[in-house]
């Protein structure tokens, strides 16, 4: 890339070695490249935070107050990009969702269909919720039952997540060697994500009905 100021060759998203001016990020980069990391699903929190801090020290608008308007604008855009990248990648769910979007296989919005394996169970649960909301039947008993449902579904959600996270290192390994296989793996992750999203919606309904203090993330 050429420096916008002195036209010497300069690395994107860093200072120009010749004139010291801050350079914008390359168009079309992704959150990993902006943080200077390889595109991997397994990421350590410490490593990410270190990049986040280091890059804010490089880009933050505080340090460009006395520079030209152009440089201030670049600093603002770059640090916003770094902050967004960090926010997305530090959350393992947001991270894989973002990757799916990049690979052209985004998770469908909306509630969708309940996963087949949970279909029966969920139908029954919805019925109990309805009953409880309309104050039919034995309230205390229903409440105990719903609390048990909540615990059960919470455990399932945790299990789905751990299966999902278990696939991260495998994808990291495959992505470099075998494009087809890694796409298959992404499809698998997407199914898990959909199940998780579904469980989460129901858990939130339950939280609301039961007034549980802890909130489902």
């Amino acid at each position: 890339m050429r420096c916008w100021n002195c036209h010497e060759s300069a690395p994107a998203g860093d200072r120009c070695p010749a004139c010291g001016r801050l350079q914008p990020f390359e168009e079309g980069g992704d959150h990993w490249s902006r943080l200077g990391l390889p595109r991997r699903l397994s990421l350590g929190g410490e490593e990410l935070e270190a990049r986040f801090h280091a890059l804010n020290r490089r880009f933050h608008p505080d340090y460009y107050q006395r520079r030209s308007e152009r440089e201030q604008a670049i600093s603002l855009e770059n640090s916003a990009a770094v902050n967004v990248a960090y926010r997305t990648l530090r959350d393992p769910i947001a991270r894989v969702e973002y990757l799916l979007g990049l690979m052209g296989m985004p998770l469908e919005g909306g509630q969708g269909q309940p996963p087949a394996e949970l279909f029966e169970e969920i139908m029954e649960l919805q019925e109990r919720l309805q009953e409880y909301r309309e104050v039919r039947g034995d309230g205390a008993k229903l409440e105990r039952r719903l609390a048990a449902d909540r615990a059960d579904l919470g455990a399932r959600k945790a299990e789905v997540e751990s299966r999902l996270f278990g696939l991260y290192p495998r994808w990291d390994e495959l992505a470099e060697r075998d494009g087809e296989a890694s796409r298959g793996l992404l499809g698998e992750m997407r199914t898990l994500l959909a199940t998780r999203a579904y469980l989460r919606t129901i858990l939130r309904d339950l939280d609301e009905v039961l007034g549980t203090a802890e909130r489902t993330e």
């Binding site: 505080d62 916003a80 902050n83």
Partner: protein, 611 residues
């Protein structure tokens, strides 16, 4: 050398200005050595008066004296309607921005806040002996976009370049950080006169990263006072059969009496409330104990605890993971507040730095960072409220979630719904509720200059960027044609750029009149000094000079006296100079060195004491 940038804490009750003196932030006092400027403005017959002088007018000029204006910043009439009964000044019913009515004039909150800022700017200039043009101004962390923008406008109206709007609790944390260099997870509980904030920060290797923030921009010592005010009103009604709620002066007496008693009860177990109402022919007297006050305050103090829990949850932390709790703001001196905070977080909170000053000190630290004077510290703050747009069915769709590190940005695509449509508009909101109508309306945006195309074909990409001040910037372009669409903003509760421009223009004009009024007062004071000194000198030194010279002096003296009370500044100046000239020789020959000094250095360069 680093630029001079001052730090200002623009508070509901008190405002302060600070700067970096070498490596240490320092609060700048006024001439009398006071660091706190009461955030009160009175509009007397001459120029507006700010601070202590205005505070003394709270009772006598109740309807022309404005206090707690911060509670009105970035608000609409509907937002403040309920609490207006507590304020003696008039607020005009209007659609958007609140307008305060003072006699014939109507002033917006940023204009009034600008007067406070201008005063602080003067303090800084007088103290540092140089022009001050740049400032960092603090706001409550939980301030929304309109409130931040209003604060920035106030700075501009005061002739300041606002380098940064920084959050009060984070500023406080910076001040502590500079002084103690302690690392870890820190909660800052900030309860001032009008607002409450809780911020949770992670401090690591000079980086102050805010993890979460929450609060209530309408909860503080003022609300504590109101509990007591209501109690007094009730008892006055019972005992004396008088309803004082409609009497602005009495209301002001009650408020000040209530606040003073409440403050006393922070140190004492018992106190006596004594409020005279000479107009009504009685004095209200009552004993009150701390326990009774605490019963009145309990509900309000509890209201601060829920935001603390939410902030912890958003930060993904348990109270036990905190390394430290800091107390900021005058109202945290209330023992009940300390107890409840201690119970909630399970640790004794710190308040080593003066809770009144620490925010201003932190603002000075941030100012120094921006000026390039400090490079090892960096503050990464968050946006306190989710930002979104109104979608079909009146639902808010979140674009940037709360507690996102700023600066941050997000893109959203829009299109047209009618063939040939060249304008698209959307409504931007802030808040955590599902429905648009339950959230805070920030502005309506209009994208113009879209090339005419069939419906649904244009692809408008709108970029929402929240800058380091927590203020939104919106830009747009049409992706198919690559043209930038122009964005027109209609703030819901704020001033447009044009309005700020117009006010600036007017304030220049006013400022000129104000400067003249001030100069006139100063010159009159100077004239008085010289008149007194000359009379005394003539009495003592008449024998030392010839009768002609004495006559000349007397003549100049009378000439000056004749115009002393006039409005003609130039004439006054001229006669004063003439008298000065006439007494030059007398001063030389005078034996009394004190008088000689008085005659020689009679130019009063500093502003006289304010009324």
């Amino acid at each position: 050398m680093a630029d001079l940038v001052i730090g200002i804490d623009l508070g509901t009750t008190n405002s302060l200005v600070a700067y970096m003196d070498g490596d240490l932030p320092r609060v700048i006092p006024d001439r009398e050595g006071r660091a706190l400027l009461p955030s009160v403005v009175t509009f007397g017959p001459d120029a507006p008066v700010v601070g202590e002088g205005a505070k003394r007018q709270l009772i006598r000029q109740a309807d022309r004296t404005v206090y707690s204006i911060k509670r009105f910043m970035g608000k609409g009439f509907e937002d403040v309607r309920e609490e207006l009964r507590y304020f003696p000044f008039r607020v005009s019913p209007s659609q958007e921005v609140v307008r305060i009515r003072i006699g014939e004039r109507e002033l917006t909150p940023p204009e009034i806040s600008a007067l406070i800022l201008r005063e602080l700017k003067q303090w800084a200039k007088a103290h540092l002996g140089r022009e001050v043009e740049k400032a960092v101004i603090t706001v409550p962390a939980y301030f929304n976009d309109s409130q931040r923008q209003a604060t920035k406008d106030a700075g501009r109206l005061a002739g300041l370049e606002v380098m940064r709007i920084v959050n009060e609790p984070t500023a406080a944390c910076l001040a502590y950080g500079l002084q103690r260099k302690k690392e870890g997870i820190i909660a800052v509980y900030d309860l001032g006169g009008g607002t409450f904030d809780i911020s949770i920060l992670k401090v690591k290797e000079g980086i102050f990263e805010v993890l979460a923030t929450n609060g209530n921009t309408h909860l503080g010592g003022d609300d504590f006072d109101r509990e007591l005010v209501d109690l007094i009103l009730r008892e006055v009604r019972e005992r004396h059969g008088a309803d004082l709620a409609a009497d602005p002066e009495a209301m002001q007496e009650i408020r000040l009496g209530a606040e003073a008693a409440r403050v006393r009860l922070s140190a004492e177990e018992w106190t006596v409330l004594t409020i005279p109402f000479p107009q009504h022919g009685f004095t209200f007297r009552r004993e009150i104990g701390r326990a009774e006050l605490e019963r009145l305050l309990e509900r309000l103090v509890q209201e601060t605890l829920e935001p603390c829990r939410l902030a912890l949850a958003d930060a993904g932390l348990e109270a036990s993971q905190l390394d430290e709790v800091l107390l900021v703001g005058g109202a945290t001196r209330t023992p009940l507040v300390r107890r409840r905070v201690q119970e909630l977080f399970g640790r004794v909170p710190h308040s080593e730095l003066n809770p009144d000053e620490v925010v201003a000190l932190g603002a000075a630290v941030q100012a120094h960072i921006l000026a390039g004077g400090i490079t090892h510290m960096l503050l990464l703050d968050v946006t306190p409220l989710s930002l979104g747009i109104e979608t079909l069915g009146g639902v808010m769709s979140v674009i940037i979630p709360r507690n996102t590190t700023v600066p941050t940005s997000a893109k959203e695509q829009f299109t047209t719904s009618v063939d040939g449509q060249t304008v698209v508009d959307f409504h931007v909101l802030q808040g955590e509720r599902e429905l648009a109508k339950d959230n805070r309306s920030l502005a309506r945006f209009e994208l113009r200059g879209i090339p005419p195309m069939p419906a649904g074909i244009p692809r408008l990409e709108v970029t929402f960027l929240i800058d380091a001040n927590g203020i939104l910037q919106v830009s747009a372009r049409e992706l198919r044609s690559g043209t930038a669409a122009s964005v027109e903003v209609k703030p819901s509760y704020g001033l447009t750029d044009e309005e700020v421009e117009r006010m600036l223009q007017e304030s220049y004009e006013h400022a000129e009149a104000d400067v003249r009024a001030r100069l006139l007062i100063e010159t009159r004071n100077e004239a008085d000094t010289v008149l007194r000194a000359t009379e005394k000198a003539l009495g003592q030194g008449a024998g030392l000079i010839g009768p002609e010279e004495a006559d000349r002096i007397r003549e100049a003296l009378e000439a000056l006296r004749a115009v002393r009370d006039g409005e003609d500044l130039d004439l006054l100046r001229e006669r004063l100079d003439r008298l000065n000239q006439a007494t030059l020789h007398l001063a030389e020959v005078l034996m009394d060195s004190v008088l000689r000094e008085a005659l020689r250095h009679r130019r009063v360069t500093e502003t006289p004491e304010k009324r």
